[in-house]
């Protein structure tokens, strides 16, 4: 490891914190702050036209069930439209210079779920599957699915911010404003930045190049900069090309990759600050930011460390290289440090873009991104929902530890009673069970087993990773799995749905229940939730819950592989 490699982890956080903070100020203004922003004179007329077109009233407050119903309806309509448009690809010949044909049924369903749930799991290669037109349909969902996450966030946080309230906001207002004020302008500007940094943006036919060795290479083209901009800003992670951020068109150089890192982290970090603004208590931001930050640094550092230490099996077999660094599957443009930082970031943030092949990591190096996702994507997480997941952990932490101060546990002045506990536990059970059950089924039945390309513990890791990525709505792939097979298309599809709706609906219900409650004033008898003690407790809960649930599976996957590699054992 070099000091520069370690330093850049901290540099990234130092850059992203003020950006997130500034963004939260802006977001608060156009969301719940009721303040004017500099852009209002452009956006307000557009906003009004949209409301008129949809025939909705943005000012009427909704109950959480109504809010949820519309949210689900919008998501479902998006899913149906996407499925139909993808199915129509052979018919719609416009913007299809490479003559892409029919998309397999399971790939269509899987992809539609994937893009609607903000997962962007891709069991296909974009450049050999979709026409430019279909890519545009996918991009539309990349704009809308992160906004759904912000809506979930707003409902839950309003639960803490409001008291004695039966309503939880207006879906249309939250949804449309976030789209107009935030998603579209930032995506537009950052696409221009990406073009400036060297990414192409066109609808040209694929270019055929003749290599020096006399070979023929087809170089795929497309609206790379515009698609990459929203894919990274919206923490979607579903790229136009299969190689994702490792593709030279997506990230031609290190500055471009750094810009994309900042882009993807900006809203998740801003959501933590936004939470503090909405509950009008900035002190509460500290422990949550600290837990996310420490887990982030820990992950990035360990991953970098294991990849630098390299594969112990080599030494065990008497192979000694000049450098132990594990270069397999990494881009020489970025090197080990930046590649691991990028992959740690995109799994901590429920994002899923990759700049290096996870399948080629050392066992423990691969364990880090896997564990990042197994925590429920709360290390910053995706737009809004990462923060919501962390709040669920906070509720559980306070319920357990809060009893120890001799009062009915409370968080941010709201009592945590059986309904809140039930909902928080439910949101924790569903994703964990989905990962374990679907993985167990996959290694137990033939159609699952045949899709695993590697034997031994590495194969188990590949399966665990796929379902953790699906449930976490992350979308990054470990690789080594026949993800396009009907079995994995269907089961990962189920995982993505379980990790989105059944996981967050209980938390929205919890938010609504909290909003109805009265606020309890703070006294010396109140459990302090802004100090170091709470930071340690919250981090402990995230880690202990993750370890307790996944330890046996991880012991047979990455841990067993590492121990075997130490002993020089190989798996055919």
């Amino acid at each position: 490891m070099t000091w520069q490699g370690v330093l850049q982890i901290f540099v990234l956080l130092i850059i992203i914190l003020p950006i997130g903070k500034l963004l939260s100020v802006y977001m608060y203004k156009f969301l719940d702050g009721g303040k004017k922003t500099f852009a209002d004179r452009f956006f307000v007329p557009v906003e009004k036209k949209v409301y008129r077109f949809l025939g909705v009233n943005p000012d009427s407050e909704m109950s959480w069930t109504r809010y949820l119903f519309i949210l689900l309806a919008v998501n479902f309509v998006g899913f149906v439209i996407l499925t139909v448009l993808i199915a129509l690809q052979p018919v719609l010949t416009w913007l299809n210079p490479a003559h892409m044909g029919r998309v397999p049924f399971w790939t269509n369903i899987n992809t539609s779920i994937s893009f609607v749930t903000n997962t962007n799991w891709q069991n296909y290669s974009g450049e050999t599957t979709f026409s430019y037109l279909s890519q545009i349909w996918l991009t539309v969902e990349q704009f809308l699915s992160p906004v759904s996450g912000i809506c979930i966030f707003l409902v839950v946080v309003r639960g803490f911010a409001r008291s004695n309230s039966k309503t939880i906001g207006n879906f249309w207002r939250d949804f449309i404003r976030t789209t107009i004020w935030l998603v579209i302008p930032v995506a537009f500007i950052s696409a221009l930045v990406l073009i400036a940094l060297g990414s192409p943006d066109n609808f040209s036919p694929y270019v055929v190049a003749h290599t020096l060795q006399g070979g023929k290479q087809i170089i795929a083209q497309g609206p790379v900069a515009s698609m990459t901009s929203i894919m990274q800003f919206g923490d979607n992670g579903g790229a136009i090309f299969n190689a994702n951020a490792a593709h030279p068109y997506l990230a031609p150089n290190a500055p471009s990759l750094l810009f994309q890192l900042i882009l993807g982290m900006s809203v998740p970090v801003a959501c933590v600050f936004l939470f503090g603004k909405m509950i009008k208590d900035k002190l509460q931001v500290k422990p949550i930011m600290a837990v996310m930050g420490i887990l982030f640094i820990l992950g990035a550092f360990l991953m970098y460390h294991y990849e630098t230490a390299g594969n112990p099996a080599l030494a065990a077999h008497g192979i000694h290289l000049a450098s132990t660094k594990n270069y397999e599957g990494k881009e020489s443009r970025f090197g080990v440090g930046t590649s691991t930082l990028f992959n740690n970031t995109t799994t901590a943030v429920s994002w899923g873009s990759v700049a290096a092949a996870n399948d080629s990591m050392t066992p423990l190096g691969g364990l880090i991104p896997l564990f990042n996702m197994m925590t429920g994507e709360v290390i910053f997480g995706s737009w809004g929902v990462g923060m919501v997941g962390m709040l669920a952990y906070a509720v559980l932490t306070l319920f357990l530890a809060g009893l120890m101060v001799g009062r009915t546990p409370e968080y941010l002045g709201k009592k945590i009673e059986s309904f809140e506990v039930k909902m928080a536990v439910l949101s924790m059970i569903i994703p964990s069970l989905a990962i374990l059950v679907l993985s167990a089924l996959s290694v137990a039945i033939t159609s699952g087993q045949t899709g695993i390309f590697n034997h031994g513990p590495h194969g188990l890791t590949e399966v665990l990773y796929a379902f953790s990525s699906g449930v976490g709505n992350n979308g990054s792939a470990f690789g080594g799995l026949n993800a396009a097979s009907p079995w994995y298309s269907a089961t990962v599809g189920i995982a993505m749905l379980l990790g989105r709706y059944p996981m967050y609906i209980p938390l929205m219900a919890m938010g609504a229940s909290l909003a109805k409650k009265q606020r309890i004033p703070v006294t010396a008898g109140t459990f302090p939730t802004h100090g170091i003690l709470f930071t340690i407790l919250l981090m402990g809960t995230v880690l202990v819950v993750g370890v307790l649930i996944f330890f046996p599976a991880l012991a047979l996957g990455p841990l067993a592989e590492q121990f075997a590699a130490n002993a020089g054992k190989l798996f055919g």
Binding site: L403, G406, V425, P521, G525, F527, L537, L548, P552, N566
Partner: protein
């Protein structure tokens, strides 16, 4: 059973020894009876353990029938035994708690026998059985008779022996009107005769409710218990899936994990420690209150007590000694002190109120007036009345009066001279009550009656403040007096010139700010405020209205008890939280014992995770299960007694408990399992083959 509750007649607490022969015998029998799955339905964690025990027992017989499985048989036999013991230990804990409650209930039940009642029907007395009485009936109870039902005295005054329910041997006075009119069925009239109107039908009396509450049978889970049970069930569900998924993961890894080992892993992971002790904690919390002579009419109220952040305390009797005590004599100008003292002593000699007695002793101790006056034969005592607001004595032609300043001055027909008037104002400001003394139309001076704040109150209140609890004094005094006493007692706020309406409004306004309120009341005028408070403690001596408005009843009628109640409520929650945390963090060590043992055959390198260096896979798993089982009885005393609580700030308490139960819970099982493994190895209980 009855013997194990040692009532100390003089003391106020009924202490029970924790390890009593009868109680243990009862608990042992109960713990076997509670093995019935129907009984365990209420405790999902233990139900899982029992199902696991059945599975391993089946496995054990399978190994017994198969040849060459000797080592597996011995292992599975021992695992099964320890799993059954785990359930029995948990049942035993619950039975212990219930047994202690049952002993109290049995005592009370003895009072609930039918007794003859003299019912008044159309002015005639008819003898009926107490079970035939209904609400609204009027009965006459004479000296030596048992009061047949709960009721209110509507005529007469009597002294009543309530020792059966309060444990207090001194008889109490019950009289019609006022705040001491409620009587409890089953208590005995010692003197005089009273007419009582029945207020509770058979089966719904105070005694019945008390018995039902103390007998844990009808005990409903409290809201917090429900929430915690949900969390524990959720965790158990997760761990069932974790363990079930291990089987396919293991077979994918070309290794076989036996049912016994899977069950052992499951039982080790699910929170058995808290699952086994949860109901014992709740029951014993109610019992602890009972031992302090407080009957909580619902578990919810006990929990709410822990959440209270504002306590309303009556000034008189709670913060102060109750009766005001004479402190000084201030003569009027031109009157010498001995003359004033003589008059004051004379006027108070037949005054049997505590105030009157305190004047006599002040005159004797400080002014040497012993009362050997020649006129004593002719003394004619004039009683205090609400109209005149004064009392006094007539002897011969002379008249002495003492009483409220305004009234006595009017009686004397004289203005109070300037200096004395100023002294009297000073007394009021300081929170004292001035009494004016006059003889034969001449003002002699004033007596200062001081409300003396109880010793130790200030310290106790400041501890509550540190724990975030605000104390408010309720008094009928004027604001000036109230402020002075509030300052002396160290309360945070006061409500002066309190009326039933202003008390209720105060409770409502504090609650609307989000605070939970506790208060004590005895009179009918307290009832509206009690009904609005979260924790409402009614004095047993109080009126029926007050008792019905309250959710707890203090049998000793000691208002300071409110502080004990709050602490008891907190103690229950702390004990639950501490044991839950302990139980969950225990899992870390158990994983390090069991996981390497399970997978070492498939991946020998995983032995590196065996950080405790346990001898063999079988010894490791058995040791973890033994630890898991014996930790329950080890913690029974803690569950029954509760984690110690001292009023301190939340962060202080948390830091301490986290260190003991959080960090302790992480470290202790590593040591415990290692020690057990050493014993298992030494005794060669299972195969020690790696």
């Amino acid at each position: 059973m009855e013997n194990e509750s040692h009532k100390e007649i003089s003391g106020r607490t009924k202490t029970q020894s924790l390890w009593n022969k009868d109680l243990i015998g009862f608990s042992l029998r109960q713990s076997v009876r509670k093995l019935s799955p129907k009984q365990l339905m209420g405790n999902p964690v233990m139900l899982v353990v029992e199902v696991g025990a059945v599975l391993t027992t089946g496995e054990m017989f399978r190994y017994l029938a198969t040849s060459g499985q000797g080592s597996n048989f011995i292992f599975t036999l021992q695992i099964s035994i320890w799993l059954w013991l785990t359930v029995l230990f948990a049942n035993f804990a619950e039975a212990m708690a219930e047994g202690r409650g049952k002993a109290h209930a049995d005592e009370l039940k003895k009072m609930r026998t039918d007794s003859p009642a003299n019912k008044i029907v159309d002015g005639k007395i008819v003898s009926v059985s107490s079970s035939e009485l209904s609400v609204g009936d009027v009965v006459v109870v004479k000296a030596g008779e048992v009061i047949p039902a709960d009721g209110e005295v509507i005529q007469g005054i009597a002294s009543v022996d309530e020792s059966a329910i309060t444990g207090e041997s001194a008889p109490v006075v019950r009289e019609s009107g006022g705040d001491r009119s409620a009587v409890t069925g089953g208590t005995t009239v010692l003197s005089d005769e009273i007419n009582v109107v029945v207020t509770a039908a058979k089966g719904e009396s105070f005694l019945d409710k008390m018995i039902a509450l103390i007998e844990a049978g009808v005990r409903k889970k409290t809201p917090n218990e429900v929430a915690l049970s949900l969390l524990l069930s959720g965790l158990s569900m997760i761990f069932i899936v974790v363990v079930v998924s291990v089987a396919p993961f293991a077979s994918y890894s070309h290794t076989h994990v036996s049912v016994t080992v899977l069950v052992a892993l499951l039982v080790a992971l699910i929170p058995t420690t808290i699952g086994g002790l949860l109901s014992a904690i709740g029951i014993s919390g109610m019992n602890r209150l009972y031992e302090k002579n407080v009957i909580a009419l619902s578990g919810r109220a006990v929990e709410a007590a822990g959440d209270v952040s504002v306590i309303l305390l009556d000034k008189t009797g709670t913060l102060t000694m109750g009766a005001r005590q004479a402190a000084t004599l201030v003569p009027a100008e031109g009157i010498d002190v001995p003359a004033l003292a003589r008059a004051a002593q004379l006027a108070s000699r037949s005054d049997e109120t505590p105030e009157g007695r305190s004047i006599v002793s002040l005159c004797r101790d400080q002014y040497g007036v012993t009362g050997n006056f020649e006129e004593k034969e002719d003394l004619l005592f004039v009683e205090f009345s609400a109209q005149t607001k004064m009392s006094g004595v007539d002897y011969g032609p002379h008249q002495i009066r003492k009483g409220a300043v305004k009234q006595v001055a009017e009686w004397a027909g004289e203005d109070i001279e300037k200096q004395l008037s100023r002294a009297i104002d000073d007394m009021s400001r300081a929170g004292s009550t001035p009494l004016l003394v006059a003889e034969d139309k001449k003002i002699l001076g004033a007596i200062e009656l001081k409300d003396i704040v109880k010793t130790g109150i200030k310290e106790r209140l400041s501890m509550l403040r540190a724990a975030g609890i605000k104390t408010v004094m309720i008094t009928g005094d004027n604001p000036i007096t109230a402020a002075a006493i509030a300052e002396e007692a160290g309360v945070d706020d006061y409500l002066a010139e309190a009326t039933p309406v202003s008390k209720m409004e105060y409770v409502k306004s504090v609650r609307s700010e989000g605070y939970m309120v506790a208060m004590v009341g005895d009179g009918t005028n307290d009832a509206p405020a009690l009904a609005n408070a979260d924790v409402a403690v009614a004095m047993n001596t109080g009126t029926v209205a007050a008792r019905q408005a309250g959710n707890m009843i203090d049998l000793d009628s000691n208002p300071t008890k409110l502080i004990d109640i709050v602490e008891a409520g907190k103690q229950i929650l702390i004990t639950r939280g501490a044991l839950t945390t302990f139980s969950i963090v225990n899992d870390v060590a158990k994983y390090f014992a069991i996981i390497p043992a399970m997978f070492v055959v498939a991946y020998p390198g995983i032995e590196a995770l065996n950080v405790m260096h346990l001898t063999s896979p079988k010894s490791a798993i058995l040791s973890a299960i033994i630890f898991n089982a014996i930790i329950i009885p080890i913690l029974i005393p803690l569950a029954l007694r509760g984690v110690k609580y001292k009023a301190k700030s939340a962060s202080n308490i948390l830091r301490k408990n986290l260190l003991i139960y959080g960090l302790g819970g992480l470290v202790v099982p590593f040591i415990g399992i290692k020690l057990i493994d050493m014993v298992v190895t030494t005794l060669h209980l299972v195969s020690l083959a790696k």
